[in-house]
């Protein structure tokens, strides 16, 4: 991961000082709530149902064990002993006090962390493929560019008060694991025919109330122009994005209103003035930032581990975990491991302080002291020797963190929902729990195979329900919680938005409905290789509707 230099550290510490002064003025009555709101939001502090929520940035999801131990300490000292990893690769604390927020930020700064721009109408944390740099299918390692974007976007003086929040995602693999098609800007890192690094630029995707798949506005942007081109897009958005209605303020609405071609012309025209200007990245700077990244000291290892082969044939539970939670690595003899934060009955992404400490220990022991947060609300140990997988699995299993459900229906992605969030129409965590309890038979789960299930408690779609193979959305009908179900959504290179199957359901009926949907799939799939979402694409919604609403008619 990127190592701060003294300047990075100084900027973060001056930001803590500034926020402390702002908080003091607010508490002294010198700033009104309206004046303080954007300031606290840009430092990660939301107000929510019970207490402020603090969202801490984990830039492009990368953490080291020292930082994770500090997050554990913060959970213990300032919160109720746990944290919640979000779908934006950040961590959220649900119970800090406003008065303690500057102290928490100071504790974060000591380990080169911050909460800068984790909310508010500004450029948020850039998200990246959680296997960046280690995935064998990767074309171009996007991490150095993610760091360059982090620096460019941090305290950007022109774009701190945009019409709405702004999210950038970056992927370097054709298997897009960063959801670049549903971000304000998505960047696909790739090489052109001359072997030069650069990006395909996608604009105007997004979930929320108006889900839209993004549009590619540039097929290839040379890497040196990355920041000036981002400046051009952001400037067009800052000047022309709607500010009269927050539900129509995202860049996707501007792209739609202008039309793609007109929007592209605006950006290209703006960029014609900025191209080659001071923000242009010299190759030396790209190389310098690259050199600030830690390089794991991989050992030369054989491709095949005999120990691993033995355990795979001897231990079915281990083999199942490997088949779901262990991922290929570009270096022979290594693998990336998903640490599943999806215990039944615990909100997806929630981790206790003790678990954080234990995972930090495992990262030190097995993965060069580093780990990553995924947008599926899991953690990843990215550099594990395959020979050590069995020992790691046993250690994780002892912690209850070896649930072999990566990619399965019980690997639910969910927002905090109405139990915590003041925006939500409905709870999401108890729904997740009920589904996980219904599908607790691992053999059945593995038979069903890949199935992304996403739950959002309201239209803001923090649980990304639009791109779940099955998406569940909490809706409010006359003050009661109902759940609308869609199927056929998909993330990745073939990103698609799910379609609503019909009228919504009471909470108690949701597990039955999911089971009915899966019944149709199991009967209709043309082979075990056809995934749920592919069956939906092939046979359409009607057979699913028929089986689900027949239930209601009985």
């Amino acid at each position: 991961m990127y190592r701060y230099d003294s300047i990075d550290r100084h900027i973060v510490s001056q930001r803590v000082d500034q926020f402390r002064r702002q908080t003091d003025r607010f508490l002294a009555g010198e700033l009104t709530e309206d004046e303080f709101r954007p300031l606290r939001l840009q430092n990660g502090l939301y107000t929510q149902r019970h207490a402020p929520m603090l969202r801490v940035a984990i830039p492009y999801g990368m953490l080291n064990s020292t930082q994770l131990r500090r997050l554990a300490r913060i959970a213990r000292v300032y919160d109720r002993g746990y944290g919640h990893f979000s779908t934006r690769q950040n961590i959220q604390y649900n119970w800090p006090s406003l008065e303690s927020a500057p102290d928490i930020l100071a504790e974060l700064a000591e380990v080169d962390m911050h909460a800068i721009q984790t909310s508010g109408n500004c450029i948020r944390n850039t998200t990246v493929d959680h296997f960046a740099g280690v995935a064998p299918d990767e074309v171009l390692n996007p991490l150095v560019y993610a760091e360059l974007i982090r620096q460019w976007s941090t305290l950007h003086p022109e774009f701190a008060f945009l019409p709405r929040k702004f999210k950038i995602a970056l992927s370097g693999s054709p298997e897009d694991r960063a959801a670049v098609m549903v971000h304000d800007i998505g960047l696909k890192a790739l090489f052109n025919y001359d072997g030069e690094p650069g990006f395909a630029v996608i604009v105007g995707g997004g979930l929320g109330r108006t889900p839209i798949i993004g549009h590619q506005i540039r097929d290839f942007l040379p890497a040196e122009h990355l920041l000036t081109y981002l400046d051009a897009i952001l400037r067009v958005y800052n000047r022309y994005g709607r500010r009269d209605n927050k539900y129509k303020a995202r860049i996707k609405i501007l792209v739609k209103a202008l039309g793609l071609d007109a929007f592209r012309r605006e950006v290209e025209q703006e960029w014609s003035f900025l191209e080659g200007g001071p923000g242009t990245l010299p190759a030396r700077e790209i190389a310098r930032v690259e050199s600030r990244f830690t390089q794991p000291a991989y050992r030369p290892l054989p491709q095949v581990s005999t120990g691993l082969e033995h355990h795979l044939s001897a231990d079915a539970a281990f083999a199942r975990w490997v088949s779901r939670n262990v991922h290929p690595h570009k270096v022979a003899g290594y693998a990336a491991v998903t640490v599943a934060l999806k215990k039944t009955g615990v909100p997806p992404g929630d981790v206790t302080a003790d678990e954080m400490d234990a995972i930090a220990e495992l990262a030190d022991h097995y993965s060069f002291g580093e780990l990553r947060v995924t947008h599926e609300q899991n953690l990843v140990l990215a550099d594990v020797e395959t020979e050590s997988l069995y020992a790691l699995w046993q250690a994780l299993d002892a912690l209850g963190l070896a649930v072999a459900n990566r990619g399965l229906i019980t690997n639910i992605i969910a927002c905090p929902g109405g139990d915590f969030c003041s925006l939500a129409n409905a709870v999401s965590i108890p729904v997740a729990k009920a589904i996980q309890e219904r599908f607790d038979d691992l053999d059945y789960l593995h038979d069903v195979g890949d199935l992304d299930l996403n739950i959002s408690g309201c239209m803001n779609s923090c649980g990304h329900h639009h791109v779940g193979h099955i998406g569940i959305l909490g809706v409010d009908k006359n003050g009661q919680e109902w759940y609308q179900i869609s199927i056929g959504g998909n993330q990745g290179p073939t990103a698609a938005l799910g379609k609503v199957i019909g009228p919504s359901f009471a909470r108690a009926d949701v597990p039955d409905v999911i089971e009915r949907l899966i019944e149709v799939y199991l009967k209709a799939r043309d082979s075990e290789a056809e995934r749920f979402v592919e069956t939906v694409q092939r046979i359409g919604l009607d057979p699913f509707r028929g089986n689900v609403y027949a239930l209601a008619d009985q």
Binding site: D5, T154, P157, E158, A160, R239, R243, E285, R288
Partner: protein
């Protein structure tokens, strides 16, 4: 009382008079600050009078309409009607970096000290604070950060300085 500060200190005795009413009603010889619409409509008459001229720009106004006027104007006041409308930041950079405006660039509106650092980076020289905002403490906020990452109107990107230090 709204105080006015510059990047270097408190400004006492602002010479600028805001035009109220028609352009012809303007006091002769005064430094006159007029709305953009008035400027566009009465440009020739305003230029004929004695005294310096300034124009007020609202968030939705297009700074390019002043492209050929920048050398006549001694003040451009960019209005921030609300704290969270960030269009004026882009307006300022365009005036400075695209249209070559060299005169005084003033941020007006109910400003608190909290945006001053960003405003200064975008090319503003003077800042009209909201009622009750402490001018001396606000001046200190102009120095909230010693270093910045990205290029803006005040300096080039941090990477230039980092690479220089390596050379």
């Amino acid at each position: 009382m709204r105080s006015l500060i510059s990047k270097t200190g408190v400004v006492n005795g602002d010479p600028w008079l805001r035009l109220e009413g028609a352009a012809d009603a303007a006091a002769a010889g005064a430094d006159l600050l007029v709305p953009l619409a008035v400027w566009l409509e009465a440009r020739e008459r305003l230029l004929d009078r004695r005294g310096r001229l300034g124009v007020v720009i609202e968030p939705g106004d297009e700074p390019a309409v002043l492209a050929s006027d920048v050398s006549w104007l001694s003040l451009i006041a960019v209005h921030f009607p609300s704290f969270t409308d960030g269009r004026g930041f882009s307006t300022a950079r365009l005036l400075r970096e695209r249209h070559g405006y060299r005169g005084e660039l003033r941020a007006t509106g109910p400003l608190t000290r909290d945006t001053l650092f960003y405003l200064a980076r975008c090319g503003f020289d003077t800042f009209e604070l909201r009622e009750g905002e402490n001018a001396l403490e606000s001046l200190a906020e102009l120095l909230a950060f010693d270093e910045v990452y990205q290029a803006a109107n005040d300096r080039g990107p941090l990477f230039e300085r980092r690479l220089q230090a390596l050379a």
